[in-house]
Subunit: 170 residues, 2 copies
């Protein structure tokens, strides 16, 4: 099948990127020995907004920038690579603030049918009620987590999608 517009864009922009690429000798361990967990939101460019140079950090992105659904990734980063610092960066205007599990299930039923909805009953979409509390809750969870060594430095932040600014929460 012919490439879609999105695929053509990837191929064209990547060719330009690769033509100037000079970072082919970096190793697996992040140079700054850290992990950033942030949201998949399209308005966030972590490298630019958070000042992450290529090779610096593991960047985990999921819906909400949540740490609980990222346990596998965090475990791998710390146990296999030995990262020692973890930054959780959620953001204003997050889609996860705009719905509840029930709303998601209603959409699933509408789009995919009653059986799909039934299969997902009890599924936790990890929506957010209060942004600042969600950051604090994630940081506390990491500090209490039996899979995260006590010497890992954990901090929590909020990125403002309207201003491009981060602020430290905890």
């Amino acid at each position: 099948m012919a490439d879609s517009a999105v695929q053509q864009n990837l191929v064209a922009k990547n060719a330009e990127y690769a033509s100037k690429f000079d970072k082919g000798d970096l190793g697996i361990p992040p140079a700054k020995n850290c992990i950033v967990v942030t949201c998949m939101d399209a308005r966030i460019d972590p490298a630019a907004a958070y000042g992450i140079d290529i090779g610096d950090a593991h960047v985990i992105r999921n819906a909400g920038g949540h740490v609980r659904p990222a346990l596998r990734d965090i475990l791998i980063s710390q146990q296999l690579v030995g990262t020692k610092e973890l930054l959780v960066i959620k953001h204003t205007g997050c889609g996860m603030l705009s719905f509840k599990n029930e709303d998601a299930l209603t959409m699933v039923e509408k789009n995919l049918g009653v059986q799909a909805r039934a299969n997902l009953e009890g599924f936790d979409f990890h929506t957010i009620t209060n942004l600042e509390e969600a950051v604090k809750s994630d940081v506390k969870w990491l500090k209490d987590c039996s899979y995260v060594p006590r010497d890992v430095l954990v901090s929590g932040w909020i990125y403002d999608v309207a201003t491009g600014k981060v602020k430290k929460v905890v």
Copy 2:
């Protein structure tokens, strides 16, 4: 507690980014209506390497760029925002090629003790044996997945961390 060097870097680089920021009016839905799933690897800068402008795409990143552990994120992107295209981009030299579940459990036991290991028995770290096969397997899984509408366009790619080049697999 005083900010760590990593945190100081975030604050300083972000202040510079925010001072020139002019994309504060973007909405939640990705302008290109798509999702990119890729690895958390520090050597990948998706925006630059894959040509993703701010606002273009949901970017999901986890250990391996795997779609199965990203089902929650994909569901939210498609059901709540209505994204219609999905690109899976794994990469050469991925850490997930370098160990097996048993190796990870051995590290957990060494670093966190026998109880931590016992609690993780049976945990799937989603390691990779063959990169190209892993891309194909993820694409097939998405195409068969009862939670992904049949009209969502799915493609699979490999990014080469040595050259900066992507190639289409499927």
